[in-house]
């Protein structure tokens, strides 16, 4: 964000700059985006909050709904369960991520690159899909427990109740901590550590007093992200049949009792508050202290080679974590080819029938997903580019507010957005009398809003890398503002935009929290919804797994593609940026 404010003196004709600070085109674009955000983010969320604080039917302000919430045992238990599960998932994820982050930043050894792959492997599979696969290996009658029972005559309750949610979420979300902590460790200036050694510090004390405190903000950022994600996740507890947590309760109230029942909205407000608080804690930890200390000494703490015993330990740990991380993937793949897999360590037989079924009658799910996710991605990139351009390249008054508003979607859990859409758009009839909320476009809009903050950051980054003088040169040679954007800015941003689009696309493709609420008809359902429906029944697990494999393949291919685009873009621009 450092580039903001550098461009204040160059936009618009002299007259328009003096009086309005921007051209009319820019003003109207800003107003359009504002209208979009108000309609599809602010209004639905405001509706949720309004319902939570008003009396049912009369619309009079009341706190009675909240009093009810805190008087109901089920909700109180759900609240504590959600806190407990999120907290323990952070602990579990930390236990997986911390050693990996430390090993890769402190030591050089073969296989360090593997950890980078580990860092995104779990993320390409939606957690609720992983939950089903993990049942097969770690459930009461899963592979591990059957073997344990055979050999030692006891079973372990990995997947029982809340434990199951914690287990699945820890494995799924530890990369967030790994990625953030590794980045923080890489950013610790080498001389910070050397200065401490020079003054007599070494070993674990050095790590505890200098390295860890400097990397702490990165850890807190990752941990709070895990906390929020787990707290908001709807599908994983539902699939594991855990109902007494907050997000499932909100969903069940609205779907079983109806959209007029205020309790679903109260729970939604609690979810939003929890999200905001944990983001606030994270920003407290990272603000003030400008720990991105990389100066001239070169990045990262000093590396050394592992001694033989340490090497053995490292590899043992690495193998254990890899097996754990691969378990859902392997389980899903086996399940998708299995005839029957029950009460046995491995499936009884193999078939491709599930794939035939998925590609046949259920191919509508795949088509819908590709359509929805692409549309959501395009919307995000268009809005993201427009906001970044307005913020970075104009001095339009209040445009920072647009940025904040779009980013605020981060704090809105998917289930809350879903409930908000349902409530806000149900009362609006279309030309044929059906409510707006039942139109598939609404799913696309929800996905777009959910992914907008991430796409916006990608667009920012892409635009920030372009020197403002490149645009000035075009204007100097007679190009209008619109034509400069079209012929200079957008082509130069392409790499970043494509990467941002693919990220939005891939995450929207497996999003379920918001869509679970919004799918009204089976022919409008995306893949994640179909998967969820299949997984409800024992007979549907095979085709469900096949759909899951397809989802993983889509996300994996997208991730590889976006890495490729970013890399190619970086190489292509490498030469031209050096004169900046």
């Amino acid at each position: 964000m450092t580039a903001i404010g550098l461009h204040n003196n160059r936009r618009g004709t002299f007259v328009s700059r003096v009086f309005t600070g921007a051209t009319w085109g820019q003003v109207s674009v800003a107003l359009l985006i504002l209208a979009f955000l108000l309609a599809f983010l602010v209004w639905p969320v405001a509706t949720v909050v309004w319902v939570a604080f008003t009396e049912k039917g009369s619309g009079v302000f009341t706190l009675a709904n909240f009093v009810d919430f805190f008087r109901t045992d089920l909700f109180i238990r759900s609240f504590w369960n959600s806190l407990y599960v999120s907290g323990m998932a952070v602990v579990g994820a930390s236990m997986l991520a911390m050693p990996l982050a430390y090993f890769t930043s402190r030591f050089t050894f073969r296989g360090a690159g593997l950890i980078q792959i580990l860092g995104f492997l779990p993320l390409i599979m939606p957690p609720f899909v992983g939950a089903v696969a993990l049942q097969l290996f770690f459930g009461r009658n899963g592979t591990v427990n059957l073997l344990l029972d055979d050999w030692f005559s006891f079973k372990l309750g990995f997947m029982e109740g809340l434990n199951g949610v914690i287990f699945v979420q820890s494995i799924h979300y530890f990369p967030f901590i790994l990625i953030n902590l590794s980045a923080a460790l890489r950013n610790v200036d080498r001389s910070m550590e050397e200065a401490a050694q020079n003054l007599g510090s070494y070993g674990f004390r050095l790590f505890r007093r200098i390295v860890f405190p400097l990397a702490l903000p990165g850890y807190v950022a990752g941990a709070s992200l895990v906390f929020v994600k787990v707290f908001d996740d709807l599908a994983t507890p539902l699939l594991l049949n855990v109902k007494d947590m907050l997000a499932p309760q909100a969903y069940l109230r609205v779907t079983s009792i109806g959209i007029t029942d205020p309790m679903g909205y109260v729970i939604s407000v609690v979810l939003i508050v929890a999200s905001v608080v944990s983001m606030w804690v994270s920003s407290l930890a990272t603000r003030n202290i400008d720990y991105a200390t990389t100066q001239r000494g070169g990045g990262g703490i000093a590396k050394r080679k592992l001694r033989p015993l340490e090497m053995a330990l490292a590899y043992a740990l690495l193998t254990f974590i890899i097996l754990l991380v691969l378990a859902p993937h392997v389980g899903l793949l086996l399940l998708s080819f299995a005839t029957i897999w029950s009460f046995s360590p491995l499936p009884d037989g193999y078939t491709v029938a599930h794939y035939a079924r998925v590609f046949g009658e259920s191919s509508i799910y795949i088509k819908n997903t590709l359509l929805y996710a692409s549309l959501a991605g395009v919307i995000d990139i268009v809005i993201g580019t427009a906001i970044s351009y307005l913020v970075l390249r104009t001095k339009l008054v209040g445009v920072r507010g647009l940025d904040l508003l779009a980013s605020a979607a981060l704090a809105i859990p998917g289930v809350v957005l879903g409930i908000g859409y349902l409530r806000a758009f149900y009362g609006i009839p279309l030309w044929d009398g059906t409510p707006l909320a039942s139109l598939w476009i609404v799913i696309v809009l929800a996905l777009a809003i959910r992914r907008l903050p991430y796409a916006l950051r990608a667009c920012y980054a892409a635009l920030q890398q372009i020197s403002a003088s490149l645009e000035e040169a075009a204007e100097n040679l007679g190009a209008t503002k619109a034509s400069t954007v079209r012929r200079i800015v957008v082509p130069l941003m392409t790499g970043g935009l494509v990467a941002g689009f693919i990220t939005s696309f891939a995450t929207a493709a497996v999003e379920l929290s918001a869509t679970l609420m919004l799918v009204q008809a089976n022919q409008d359902a995306p893949l994640a919804y179909g998967l969820y429906v299949f997984m409800q029944s024992a007979a549907g697990r095979g085709p469900g797994a096949a759909l899951g494999v397809i989802a993983v393949v889509i996300v994996a291919l997208s991730t590889v593609a976006s890495q490729y685009v970013i890399e190619r873009d970086r190489r292509a621009k490498g030469g031209s940026n050096s004169n900046d």
């Binding site: 200036d189 001389s191 910070m192 050397e194 200065a195 401490a196 050694q197 020079n198 003054l199 007599g200 510090s201 070494y202 004390r205 007093r209 200098i210 405190p213 400097l214 702490l216 202290i289 400008d290 720990y291 200390t293 100066q295 001239r296 000494g297």
Partner: protein, 364 residues
């Protein structure tokens, strides 16, 4: 150096000698240091001076223990330290980036090394106060490093280092992160602090002015080797080779070749070799810009030989005017004193450059 034990209030430091004995280092096949020998005297302010990539920083890091030598030893006060890890060396280093820890206050930064040494609380407090008062920052003790100016940060880094009462002080490019105006002031302060502390100090710099103005002695380094060691004036007056002559100040080289009669410039001027001095076969005559005079063509005095040439550049430097003269393939700089009203020569004018035979250096 009669009094080697200087006592500054609060901090007890001993002035020790630093001996670097046949040190070589390499990164892979790239030889960075090649047989370095240096004897740095107790209490001396000593500079390692050279262009970037000459190995000076690597040598400093070797003394602190942050790099590995292929060969050789380093001793402080007669005791070898080359085999100790950095945290056992008691060699205080002030980093180029200062490396102040952002999560600690100024006071905690300065106390860090003392706490690592498990000193009693009272002693830590006494030494932190002494170190901070020594650099004049007592009032900043509770601030964060990010709240201080660049110059103040550097003094905190210095205080942090001297608080442990190190045996040797190392400064890595201490002025490079300061703006030009501050640099002159800080380098004077640095010298005053070092002299009042009496601690043997090695400073790495690529700036000859920095080394010349504050250091007792300078080692000029290039391509992993020490080219020459001496006081700044020795190095300027008697450079050991062409690199040293050109790195310290400006040196004019007369192009040409050795013949039986002596040195014949490419314009045909023959210069006799000096007697009693060993001149290398590939040596060339070298002189400083202020050691010669420029005269309009044909007006040079008969005493010294001269080269015909043409003025191609003219720079106004305040007290002097520097002319660039093209004479054959030699490019000669000549400084003429400037007083208001003195007449200037113009670019394009044909001139004679007098060769100051008695001041010529013969360098290769």
């Amino acid at each position: 150096m009669t009094d080697t034990d200087t006592q500054h209030p609060g901090l007890a430091v001993k002035a020790l000698d630093l001996k670097i004995d046949d040190i070589s280092a390499a990164y892979g096949d790239n030889v960075v240091l090649d047989g370095i020998n240096l004897d740095i005297r107790p209490g001396e302010l000593f500079a390692l001076l050279g262009p970037s990539g000459c190995g000076k920083t690597t040598l400093l890091r070797l003394i602190a223990g942050f790099a590995d030598a292929r060969h050789g030893r380093i001793a402080v006060g007669g005791k070898e330290i080359s085999n100790l890890p950095p945290w056992k060396r008691d060699v205080g280093m002030v980093f180029q980036s200062y490396a102040l820890w952002p999560h600690m206050t100024v006071g905690d930064n300065v106390a860090f090394g003392l706490r690592e040494r498990r000193l009693p609380r009272a002693e830590i407090k006494r030494r932190v106060d002494a170190a901070l008062s020594f650099v004049g920052l007592t009032s900043q003790i509770d601030r964060r490093p990010s709240q201080l100016s660049g110059g103040q940060q550097q003094r905190v880094a210095l205080a942090r280092t001297i608080a442990i009462e190190p045996k040797i002080l190392l400064l890595d490019e201490p002025l490079s992160n300061l703006d030009a105006k501050l640099r002159v002031q800080v380098r004077r302060e640095l010298r005053a602090l070092q002299k009042s502390l009496g601690l043997t100090t090695v400073i790495v710099t690529h700036d000859q002015e920095e080394a010349n103005t504050i250091c007792d002695r300078v080692a000029v380094m290039n391509a992993g080797k020490v080219q020459q060691v001496g006081t700044p004036t020795e190095l300027y007056e008697h450079p050991a080779n062409l690199f040293v002559a050109q790195f310290l100040g400006t040196a004019n080289v007369v192009e040409g070749k050795m013949t039986g009669a002596g040195f014949e410039s490419d314009l045909g001027v023959v210069l006799a070799l000096p007697k009693g001095i060993d001149v290398k076969p590939n040596a060339k005559p070298v002189f400083r810009p202020q050691d010669t005079v420029l005269t309009p063509k044909g007006q040079s005095s008969e005493g010294n030989p001269s080269m015909p040439g043409e003025i191609v550049e003219r720079e106004f430097l305040g007290s002097t005017i520097r002319y660039g003269v093209k004479a054959g393939s030699s490019h000669i700089w000549i400084d003429a004193p400037f007083r208001s009203g003195s007449s200037l020569m113009e670019i394009g004018e044909a001139v004679d450059v007098t060769i100051p035979v008695e001041r010529l250096l013969w360098l290769a």
